[in-house]
């Protein structure tokens, strides 16, 4: 049984040193040993093998972000099913009902975004999400933003 | 109405009831509001008169004591009672409130219900301070007084009312939060020594503090009281507040509110902290501060161009006499101080009422604007003369009785104190007589003063009781001395006992 702090954390320290050393080594080695070739094709951005065109600063629909965020949310929530799967045999019905509650909650969320139209891809002619909140709250005189910015 | 068992509660809360009624009256009917307010003030005065009938001058200790638990977990009680000192102040408060409400009849026009409500609330607050036997209750009322006074000055005051109201509030608030710490130290000391949590003043007297701690507590409480008195150098809020307040506000402020400070010394500092109070260093500092207040107040009064401000600064000087009397720590000094509290209430109250009467007619208080007023207002001039002489301490009027007794007391301790205080009286006579000369006597030079009308019936009703009281106390002060005798003896007894105790312990 390691007693002192250093002894206990020695493996961690060792790993940190190793990781650092390997990283430095590999990057250093490739910098020193590697052959450098520059041409137009190599310097373009990588885009799935296609030839890139246009500017990268192009605007595109907010729907992409929305869907991406929703995907991440539901995806992460699904991860909880894995640890559950490991132990549900021990926990029996309790685990079943707990996971049922969890899934119902996720379904409620899904139902909500569905009804709100967040998944409606055919944008404009349908209702925008939470369109009621789209009121012009910007006052005609542009005072407020100055007010907010003078900080503490 | 049977008030037998709860007389003091009735006295305390009648103004509050009156306030509720005043607020309930439709505010559009100003006439009705005025009548209701006057009746409410009259009612609370009549209720307090029962005390006159039933108060036993010869009994020691507190009378009509009522006690009920208020906040059990903190040991806070609603406990009220009255002894000779507070008895006089209670009567003074109810009487002066009645007179100031009556005096406001034609002065105030705006937001009448709120105005009268504030005056009545102020009355309850002040009465609460004088009646409380529980230190916490005392503090609650002490702080509660701030609010109505703040509004009285701030809404119905003169031109610089905002500044005055704010200054008044902040000064007193700062003083009283420090006082709160002193209270808490005593509270915990009692809890530690006796295992009982209580704020009862009578119980807190048992606390034995090391002298250093006692001195600290003394100074903490001192700050609260001294701001209210006000003692030099905490007096600067007073002239502003007085000058800007409406007449009724000034009367209440000078007449009774300032007495809360001196009452605090008498009721709390001396009995609760007898060792610190008799500490020669502390006594000297306080005596010197009192003497400075006496002389400085008088000198500054001499220089005033504003009628009301002059009276205000004279209060600083007169309150200096009272604190000097208290810290003479002998029977004469204390008796004089208690009596002078009442006298100052009567004479300064009268002076402020008179200033208010003239201000209402002319809307100015510049002394230079007046002169020869006696030609147009002979009755007013007579009453003013009486008020002035009573304030200046002329024999046969009330002011003399108090000041003379205080000087006797001070002389016993240190002849120099008396010697230094006497010029205060002389200066007092000087500034008042000079004021009289500049305003009442001489030729009627200012055209605007030609239209002045003399006192009307209501104004007579306001000033006469105070004039009568001034004469009565001046000619036959014996009943007053009798009332004060017991409580003063009790304070002296308390001081002596600790002195003996100290002597036994020390050698």
């Amino acid at each position: 049984m390691p007693t002192t702090l250093l002894e206990r954390y020695f493996p961690v320290v060792l790993q940190a040193i190793l990781a650092f050393a390997i990283g430095t080594l590999l990057i250093g080695a490739s910098a020193i040993l590697g052959k450098r070739v520059r041409n137009a094709v190599k310097n373009t951005a990588y885009e799935c093998g296609m030839t890139p065109y246009g500017t990268a600063k192009e605007r595109f629909s907010v729907k992409f972000y929305l869907v991406a965020m929703l995907f991440i949310l539901f995806d992460i929530e699904a991860i909880f099913l894995y640890p559950w799967a490991v132990v549900f045999r021990d926990l029996k019905m309790f685990a079943f009902f707990e996971m049922l509650v969890f899934v119902i909650l996720i379904l409620a969320g899904f139902f909500y975004i569905y009804k709100k139209g967040a998944l409606d891809w055919t944008a404009e002619e349908l209702k925008p999400v939470q369109h009621k909140i789209h009121v012009d709250l910007m006052p005609a005189d542009p005072v407020p933003s100055e007010k907010v910015t003078h900080a503490a | 109405m049977n008030m037998g068992d709860h007389l003091l509660s009735w006295i305390l809360f009648t103004p509050l009831l009156g306030m509720v009624v005043v607020l309930a009256v439709p505010s559009s009917n100003k006439y009705l509001v005025r009548w209701v307010a006057n009746l409410a003030a009259l009612a609370s005065f009549l209720v307090s008169l029962q005390l006159v009938l039933r108060f036993d001058t010869h009994a020691a200790g507190f009378q009509f004591v009522e006690r009920a638990s208020w906040i059990a977990s903190l040991g806070v009680n609603y406990s009220i009672g009255v002894d000779g000192i507070s008895y006089l102040l209670v009567i003074l408060t109810t009487a002066l409130t009645l007179l100031s409400v009556l005096a406001s009849w034609s002065e105030v026009e705006e937001r009448l219900p709120a105005y009268y409500a504030m005056l009545l609330l102020l009355e309850t607050g002040i009465l609460g301070v004088f009646l409380s036997l529980d230190f916490f209750l005392f503090y609650v009322f002490w702080e509660a007084v701030l609010v109505p006074m703040y509004f009285l000055i701030g809404i119905w005051g003169g031109e610089r009312r905002l500044y005055a109201a704010l200054k008044f509030f902040l000064y007193t608030m700062t003083g009283s939060v420090l006082m709160l710490i002193g209270i808490l130290i005593l509270y915990f000391a009692h809890a530690n020594q006796f295992g009982v949590r209580t704020f009862e003043i009578a119980d807190l007297m048992r606390v034995q503090l090391p002298i250093a701690a006692e001195r600290t507590v003394f100074w903490l409480l001192f700050l609260g009281f001294a701001v209210k008195v006000p003692m030099f150098p905490f007096h600067t809020w007073l002239p502003d507040a007085h000058t800007e307040a409406p007449t009724a506000g000034s009367v209440m402020l000078a007449g009774v509110l300032l007495k809360m400070g001196t009452y605090g010394f008498l009721r709390i500092s001396l009995p609760l902290l007898p060792n610190a109070s008799q500490d020669w260093g502390i006594v000297c500092i306080l005596a010197v501060l009192s003497l400075i207040a006496i002389l400085y107040g008088a000198l500054v009064s001499l220089m005033q161009k504003d009628w009301k401000k002059l009276v205000a600064y004279s209060s600083v000087s007169h309150m200096g006499f009272i604190t000097l009397g208290i810290f003479s720590l002998n029977v004469k000094g204390l008796t004089g101080a208690v009596i002078q509290q009442i006298n100052h209430g009567i004479s300064t109250g009268l002076l402020f009422l008179l200033v208010g009467i003239i201000y209402e007619r002319r809307h100015t208080r510049e002394i230079a604007e007046f002169g020869g007023v006696a030609h147009r207002m002979p009755n007013y001039a007579v009453v003013f003369a009486i008020a002035m002489l009573s304030s200046a301490g002329l024999p046969l009027l009330n002011g003399f009785v108090g000041e003379f007794t205080i000087l006797q007391g001070a002389f016993e301790v240190n002849p120099w104190w008396a010697a230094l205080a006497v010029p205060g009286i002389v200066l007092g006579a000087a500034y008042l007589l000079w004021l009289y000369q500049r305003t009442m006597l001489g030729e009627l030079t200012n055209e605007k003063n030609r239209q002045l009308l003399d006192l009307n019936l209501r104004e007579w009703a306001v000033v006469l009781p105070l004039v009568a009281a001034a004469f009565w106390i001046g000619i036959y002060p014996k009943p007053l001395f009798e009332i004060v005798e017991k409580p003063v003896a009790q304070i002296m007894d308390r001081l002596h006992r600790t002195e003996l105790h100290q002597k036994e312990v020390q050698p």
Binding site: V135, P144, V148, A151 | S73, F141, E143
Partner: protein, 486 residues
């Protein structure tokens, strides 16, 4: 795997308030999605009912105090007190918001659902007995609050406020989580009681325990806006809608103080000599910064924000005193603070109008002549914030400084009380403006006070007065519960 893993009915019963709130919150969310474009005030009432039911459940749960779910949850008087408090804050917030939202044409069920979820988090913080639960509670409460701060999403101020709140808030929670990780590493437990036991053996390296306590303190100090982590509060309170500022200044703060007291009084009890001086300095700094910065403010929301920082400082004084008396003072103070602060913000909500056009102190000019009812309400609340006797604020301050003196923190008490005298200055300015100035452009065409708002104003004001006259109402309970069920 423990044999008795299946929780008993009693355990669910102890956790009923959170369960009820979650169900009602989800229900409100679904109803919102199903009901289309109508004005959703009715969902506000549903949420009110849900909160009331949860409050009843919280009170009922206190009849059978104890632990639940492997000691992750604790129900004692302390937890019940704060549960009821945050639930009450939620109810008042809904009452304050309904009319405001209708006027901004943003009255939707989302808002109420978010309030309910945020309250779930705070309620969980109140009864958490374990660091992970505390963290989850804080996160649930915060994430909902971040969204609420930017709820009117076309309002630039709302956006700025939400972004600031979110960035700083997540940073602070990261610190908290880092502290939790350290303490788990040091003691092998996240249960507050077990940590206390391990730490009292004194085997864990003191310096490292101190660091982990400090990291957690950073996170909590941020939530209660204690100096030096108070910078966000004025900007966020000013930028958010007034009802949300009311909510954020009350509920999350109270819950975070509950956590602070529980964690530091239970787990870090044995290293109190380390954290007490830190708390001493922090409480003083918080009071001073809050009060002196408030002196300068012209915007009433900003002023109330700084004042709420100052009030956090007073509560910190009570926490610093580290005693049962101090705990009771924290509880009482927060109850009265929530009442008066929400009340004051309710008045601001009513006054602001038209996308919050009138939020300067000067906009209250002459209100006394135009709207005596609201003036009277605000007067009482301001006097309570000043700490004038016969109001809840007075007893709060009294108890706080009493606790400080009881623990021999004489200088802290003196400096704190002087601070409260300074505070009188800026509070009184509001009264000055209301009573002593002539009505201006902002006080003509005043809207009527909507029914729900009126209820909120009356409840807060009467509550403040009731606490001032009969502090025994909750002081007795607070004193009994101040031992934290240890």
């Amino acid at each position: 795997m423990p044999a008795n893993f299946m929780p008993s009915a009693a355990e669910y019963f102890r956790f009923a308030p959170e369960i009820i709130l979650t169900i009602v919150g989800t229900l409100v969310m679904i109803l919102e999605a199903m009901t289309g474009d109508r004005d959703k005030s009715s969902l506000g009432y549903v949420s009110l009912l849900g909160l009331a039911a949860a409050m009843a459940a919280a009170v009922a749960a206190n009849n059978d105090p104890g632990l639940a779910f492997q000691s992750m949850i604790i129900v004692d008087g302390f937890a019940t007190f704060f549960r009821v408090l945050v639930l009450g804050v939620g109810m008042l917030t809904i009452l304050v918001s309904t009319n405001y939202l209708s006027e901004a044409k943003a009255n939707s069920g989302d808002f109420y659902a978010l309030i309910l979820f945020s309250v779930v988090g705070q309620s969980l913080m109140a009864c958490a007995n374990e660091l992970i639960m505390i963290f989850i509670g804080i996160e649930i409460s915060s994430i909902a609050s971040y969204i609420l701060a930017g709820y009117l999403r076309d309002d630039r101020r709302n956006n700025e406020s939400a972004l600031k709140y979110f960035l700083m808030g997540s940073f602070a929670t990261a610190f908290l989580l880092y502290g939790v990780a350290w303490i788990y590493g040091l003691t092998g437990s996240t249960n507050l009681g077990e940590i206390r036991t391990v730490l009292s053996h004194g085997t864990a390296p003191t310096a490292m325990v101190g660091i982990s306590a400090a990291l957690m303190l950073v996170g909590l100090a941020f939530k209660v806006s204690a100096a030096p982590f108070q910078v966000w509060a004025p900007d966020v309170y000013q930028g958010s809608s007034a009802p949300i500022s009311a909510f954020m200044s009350a509920g999350p703060k109270a819950a975070a103080f509950a956590v602070m007291v529980r964690v530091f009084y239970t787990s870090f009890d044995s290293i109190s000599n380390q954290w007490e001086p830190v708390f001493w300095i922090m409480s003083l700094a918080t009071m001073v910064i809050g009060n002196f910065a408030a002196l300068q403010q012209r915007n009433i929301k900003r002023m109330l924000a700084y004042s709420s920082i100052a009030h956090a400082g007073y509560v910190m004084v009570a926490v610093t005193s580290h005693s049962a008396v101090g705990t009771a003072a924290v509880m009482f103070y927060l109850a009265s603070y929530c009442l008066m602060n929400i009340g004051a913000f309710a008045v601001v909500t009513w006054m602001a109008r038209d996308g919050e056009k009138f939020v300067e102190v000067d906009d209250f000019s002459g209100l006394a002549q135009k709207q005596p009812f609201v003036t009277a309400i605000l007067t009482v609340l301001i006097l309570s914030l000043v700490g004038v006797p016969l109001t809840g604020g007075f007893f709060g301050k009294f108890l706080v400084f009493k606790a400080a003196i009881d623990s021999h923190l004489m200088w802290l008490a003196i400096l704190g009380l002087l601070n409260s005298a300074v505070a009188a200055y800026y509070y009184l300015r509001v009264l000055v403006v209301m009573y002593f100035r002539e009505p201006g452009a902002s006080t003509v065409n005043l809207p009527p006070v909507a029914g729900t708002l009126r209820v909120a104003m009356l409840v807060t004001t009467l509550g403040t007065i009731a606490l001032g006259i009969f502090p025994g109402l909750i002081l007795g309970f607070a004193t009994q519960s101040s031992t934290l069920g240890k």
